[in-house]
């Protein structure tokens, strides 16, 4: 606040000199007010988003109470709705995306900062960044028309044949209908989508580590692996976890790509090959035809999604900021 009053003092003393050509005191104040108002608008919009979905979802929460979270029903005929399948699908696909995507992201970040020859650094970095610019609906089409048939033929069918009848893996990795779409496919597509984000943040973090640390490690005879494992990753670990959280936030809320490949079934299945649905995909699929309690339940799903992503993004923000300040 002191900085603010200083600025005002500066402004006042500026205009109190004999009037020159330029905006009057009124215009100056107007400019300031417009800037202040625009900044407040960000706050209002976020509050509006939360308020509107809470308002819309309230009847569903009131009707089903806490049971909304634990019920796996989604029956339009009997008006019974529960969030369990969608929430499980959202968490499962996002976690699969992290498990697959994070090692690849770190590999790319390490390659770009440590191993890549100088001339190739720009074009390779650009390629990865362009992956982030591809719209999510295009990932959905790629996932459904190119990746899913490939995945069904070369992964789902062989794996299902091998694990059939085995305990645990037999349920976890068995595809009743090897169509290529399902929770794991959604996880893989999400992994591809978060890789460029996590990789580019991790690359920036690795670049910020003082060169002298690396040089010292190499100087005592460390191999690249040892430098990465014992010097670079510990240095950047907090912010890399922040980057992973940002990726998780994206994966949780991603809509179009997932809607194409998740299969959109309301079934709780132990197998990652089976179709399921996520909160976002269910809202995208049903919202336009929904009314009454179904619409309220979809809004309530939106509230749950908001709550989950909000927590994840807040953690991400604290982790990445802590490093910046230090």
């Amino acid at each position: 606040m002191t900085a603010l009053t200083e600025q005002i003092a500066l402004t006042r003393s500026g205009t109190s000199t004999r009037s020159r050509k330029g905006p009057s005191k009124g215009l100056d104040a107007l400019f300031r007010a417009a800037s202040y108002g625009s900044a407040l608008l960000v706050l209002v919009v976020l509050a509006g988003i939360l308020g509107s979905i809470l308002y819309g979802g309230w009847p569903a929460f009131r009707e089903f109470g806490f049971g909304f979270l634990t019920s796996s029903a989604w029956n339009i005929g009997t008006e019974q709705y529960g969030a369990l399948v969608a929430v499980t699908g959202t968490l499962a696909s996002a976690l699969l995306a992290l498990v697959i995507g994070v090692p690849i992201s770190l590999g790319i970040a390490i390659y770009l900062t440590q191993l890549c020859p100088g001339w190739a650094r720009k074009p390779v970095g650009m390629t990865i960044e362009l992956l982030a610019a591809v719209p999510s609906i295009i990932y959905g089409m790629w996932g459904l028309f190119i990746f899913a048939p490939f995945f069904a033929r070369f992964v789902q069918m062989p794996v299902s044949n091998v694990v059939e009848g085995l305990p645990i893996v037999g349920t976890l990795l068995y595809a009743r209908v090897p169509s290529g779409v399902g929770v794991l496919t959604a996880g893989i597509i999400l992994a591809i989508m978060i890789v460029p984000f996590v990789a580019s943040i991790a690359r920036d973090m690795l670049d910020q580590i003082p060169t002298i640390l690396r040089e010292s490690a190499y100087g005592i005879g460390c191999t690249t692996w040892e430098v990465v494992r014992h010097v670079l990753l510990p240095q950047a670990s907090v912010s890399i976890i922040g980057a992973i959280m940002l990726g998780l936030g994206r994966a949780l809320g991603e809509t179009m790509a997932v809607t194409f490949v998740v299969g959109n079934a309301n079934r709780l299945s132990a197998s990652v090959f089976d179709p399921g649905s996520t909160i976002a995909s269910r809202i995208a699929n049903e919202f336009n035809e929904a009314d009454g309690l179904q619409l309220n339940s979809l809004m309530a799903l939106g509230c749950i999604l908001f709550a989950i992503t909000f927590v994840v993004l807040i953690i991400a923000r604290f982790l990445t900021r802590r490093v910046k300040v230090a």
């Binding site: 215009l27 800037s35 976020l46 090692p103 590999g107 790319i108 719209p135 609906i137 089409m141």
Partner: protein, 296 residues
């Protein structure tokens, strides 16, 4: 950075001095990192190849003159969807640019160090990565339900909400790069704060601010989820007041790609090729614009 390239793990050392397990770990890491990067490039290449092969087949001048065909009818183009997308993105960016620019200015200039600016910066980062489908739900409740109809205005506002945090963030970052001495020089000449901001700091940061706007444009041009419940889609030319469903490329692609009609699927591929190329071009342009800024 180039200096770092010359530093390598002393290859001159005799191999005998590095234990086998260390060498294996090192080799594995190098190979894994290379593979990860190749994988990224292969996916991008595969996506582009798919779009070009499938999209080029349906490319014809009719795309740009005919509106989308009804279910089961032959031929048709995507002219209404292209125009609709231009209008929606146009509304989005026209609403978002002044708000984002002014809010970013507040964070970097007026509110510097204040508690409120800290909170708004935090919430802006949240809004930046908030699921876009929730923004669709918000605008549905805010505009579509009270107005009683889907509309292009609602779609434009939804896109503006997505574009604004991008512009706020880049504007603030770019204004922070402007040295304080420039501002002090302006104020010392007796210029009011608003004049200093408009003709000194904005001008110094202009390339970066423009980059932010282009990035925001690239971001909203392909957004589908927030348009599903706001602008929806329409298989004919939309009315001039933008009320009712307004055709747009992303939702058209979504509906047509999953339809059973071959000519609809064909149009979806053509639309997908068009929109992806536009967005990739915008992203490349944004990076070229920012170059002189970072070089300074």
């Amino acid at each position: 950075m180039d200096a770092n390239n010359t530093i390598r793990p002393a290859p001159a050392l005799k191999p005998t001095r590095i234990r086998g397990s260390r060498r294996v770990a090192d080799r594995t890491l190098r190979l894994a990192c290379l593979l990860a990067t190749v994988l990224g490039a292969v996916v991008l290449g595969s996506i582009l190849l798919m779009l070009i092969i499938e999209g080029a087949r349906g490319f014809s001048p009719l795309l740009f003159t005919q509106p989308t065909p009804g279910p089961g009818s032959e031929g048709g183009g995507i002219a209404n969807a292209i125009l609709g997308s231009l209008v929606l993105t146009g509304i989005g960016i026209l609403v978002a640019t002044p708000i984002g620019l002014m809010a970013g200015t507040y964070l970097a200039e007026y509110g510097r160090g204040s508690k409120l600016a800290e909170v708004i910066r935090f919430l802006n980062d949240i809004l930046l990565s908030a699921p876009s489908i929730l923004i669709g739900l918000f605008v549905y409740t805010l505009m579509v339900r009270p107005m009683g109809s889907y509309s292009g205005w609602a779609g434009g506002v939804a896109l503006a909400i997505i574009a604004t945090p991008v512009i706020v963030r880049t504007t603030e970052d770019m204004l922070r790069l402007v040295p304080g001495t420039l501002r002090e020089a302006g104020v010392a000449l007796g210029a009011p704060m608003s004049t200093v901001i408009r003709s000194v700091t904005w001008r110094a940061a202009s390339a970066g601010i423009v980059t932010g706007i282009i990035l925001a444009l690239a971001r909203i041009a392909g957004e589908t989820a927030p348009l599903l419940f706001t602008a929806l889609n329409n298989n004919s030319w939309f009315s001039r007041d933008l009320m009712g469903g307004v055709a747009n490329l992303p939702v058209m692609i979504y509906q047509f790609a999953l339809s059973p009609y071959p000519n609809w699927q064909q149009l979806a591929w053509a639309g997908a090729l068009l929109i992806t190329m536009t967005i990739l071009l915008l992203s490349v342009v944004a990076r070229v614009v920012i170059k002189p800024q970072t070089a300074r």
